[in-house]
């Protein structure tokens, strides 16, 4: 198999922005309900919970679920 050029470039950027400590999907899941509530209260969860924000920027599965949760909670308000 051959790596596509755009994938390789994505890898380079991903390596360059790697932090020594990143939380995984489990820790993100533990925090995401609080994160979403802060967001809906108009507070700034990215500032209060930067590790969660960094994980959401990197993990597409967690981002997808975060956006779905945001929609779901809005629908019930």
């Amino acid at each position: 198999m051959e790596l596509k050029l755009d994938v390789l470039k994505k890898m380079v950027r991903s390596i360059a922005t790697t932090a020594p400590h990143e939380i995984g999907c489990d820790e993100c899941f533990n925090e995401i309900d609080r994160f979403v509530e802060l967001e809906l209260q108009g507070k700034k969860p990215a500032e209060a919970m930067p590790l969660v924000q960094a994980h959401l920027d990197r993990c597409m599965n967690c981002r997808e679920e975060y956006e779905a949760l945001l929609d779901a909670i809005k629908a019930c308000q």
Binding site: M1, E2, L3, K4, L5, V7, L8, K9, K10, M11, V12, R13, S14, I15, A16, T17, T18, P20, E22, G24, C25, D26, F29, I32, D33, R34, V36, E37, C59, M60, N61, E64, E65, A68, L69, D71, A72, I73, K74, A75, C76
Partner: protein, 208 residues
């Protein structure tokens, strides 16, 4: 439906007469899932949503002790329902794509893109960019474990979502995230050891 505090939800869900609280929570989950999935799926989703809500309710009732009270109970319950729904949808969506197809183990893998083997293929790429890509490719081959290499390539090439790649590799999404994080850290250290900083990499590729 009565407004409940978290303490009231917990008492009602745990109580001997918990049927009303369960019914109320099911209504909340179904309303939330219906809305969030209606933007993603076409057609009649009512049965699907009810199945997801039912599966999520069982998980929620079995895990009430893990609720830490840092959000509303309904928000916590809804995140469990979203996880149930999206995990199942991903599994169905990707079940026909296997890791073996994306990453054949016995093919004498050469990752090198044509653009690096053929200098005329992409004349606008600078010497610096070419050198960095060659270095990263070399380090991926030399410094990562086979498992790290496989995970990083499969997930970053977009071949499979993290969760589905994890399922097929016999692990879970959190563990796979950590495995790839370790791989990225290792590569970053090795690149720095060869004299390039993260800023050098971003200066070369950050804006593309």
């Amino acid at each position: 439906m009565p407004e409940r505090t978290n303490a009231e939800w917990l008492a009602d869900l745990r109580g001997p007469e918990n049927q009303q609280a369960i019914t109320d929570l099911r209504v909340v989950l179904i309303r939330g899932l219906s809305y969030s999935l209606s933007t993603r799926l076409r057609g009649d989703i009512d049965t699907l949503v009810e199945d997801f809500a039912q599966e999520a309710l069982l998980k929620i009732l079995n895990n009430l002790d893990t609720f830490r009270g840092e959000s509303k109970l309904t928000t916590w319950a809804q995140k469990i329902a979203v996880r149930v729904a999206y995990s199942e949808l991903r599994r169905k969506r990707w079940q026909d794509i296997s890791i073996q197809d994306l990453y054949p183990e016995d093919s004498g893998i050469d990752y090198t893109p044509a653009v690096l083997t053929d200098p005329g293929a992409n004349p606008e790429m600078s010497v610096t960019q070419r050198n960095i890509l060659e270095m990263v490719l070399r380090l991926i081959q030399e410094k990562l474990t086979e498992k790290q290499r496989q995970a990083m390539i499969i997930v970053m090439s977009g071949g499979l979502p993290l969760e589905e790649a994890a399922r097929q590799m016999g692990t879970n999404r959190n563990a796979l995230y950590k495995l790839i994080h370790d791989a990225r850290k290792r590569l970053k250290e090795e690149i720095e050891a060869e004299g390039l900083s993260a800023d050098d990499l971003l200066a070369a590729f950050g804006s593309i």
